[in-house]
Subunit: 116 residues, 2 copies
């Protein structure tokens, strides 16, 4: 058993919006992801969605307001709330979602989450 | 709704081994804590225990081996595994546990988790 270095895991890939699973916690996937540009509007009917910014600055658009999340900041999108993450420049994130949650809110369009 | 700045939350207190709840995720408490010295050996029968080091360097002693967790590193102690966190100098951590989990593994000796 050893610690998981998030920067080292992030250094293993370059693509955007494709989360990598780095650990598990009670049936949740702990993931790192690089994002840039605008994602799709979506919601998760059954789960909150936790974003922790490791590098860069993320905007999470929601229908009622936007939230700006900088390095060392986190935000939890409550379940059922429509949101659209946007990153003007590349952002590195830690994400937590129940294992199997589609990142787009829809299994048909979701990225496959690889383990690194 | 706004982002939660972990450093700002940590700046609101100085005591050790007393987690503060900063957010919730699907019935879990997202907490920050400052630790220094040696905690008590304990285990959680019903939950994994996630440690993310924000500042400093933490040693998690377990019966079979120790794990060293530095800044930007995380470690998940599997449920049921006895462990004892040790910090030679002050360490700042993000913790995730199901709401109501006693930090010592025993409600009788656990710290009260305040919300900040």
């Amino acid at each position: 058993m050893k610690a998981i270095n998030l920067a080292a895991k992030l250094a293993t890939f370059t693509d955007h919006w494709s989360p990598r699973i780095v650990a598990g916690y009670n049936g949740n996937d702990i993931m790192v992801v690089k994002v840039q540009g605008e994602f799709t509007w979506h919601s998760h009917a059954d789960t909150d969605d936790l974003f922790l910014v490791l590098k860069g600055s993320l905007t999470i658009r929601m229908r009622e307001s936007d939230v700006h999340v900088g390095p060392g900041e986190l935000f939890v999108v409550p379940k059922g709330v429509e949101h659209c993450p946007v990153a003007a420049e590349e952002v590195h994130l830690l994400l937590i979602e129940p294992a199997g949650t589609p990142n787009t809110g829809d299994a048909a369009t979701a990225a496959v989450k690889q383990r690194v």
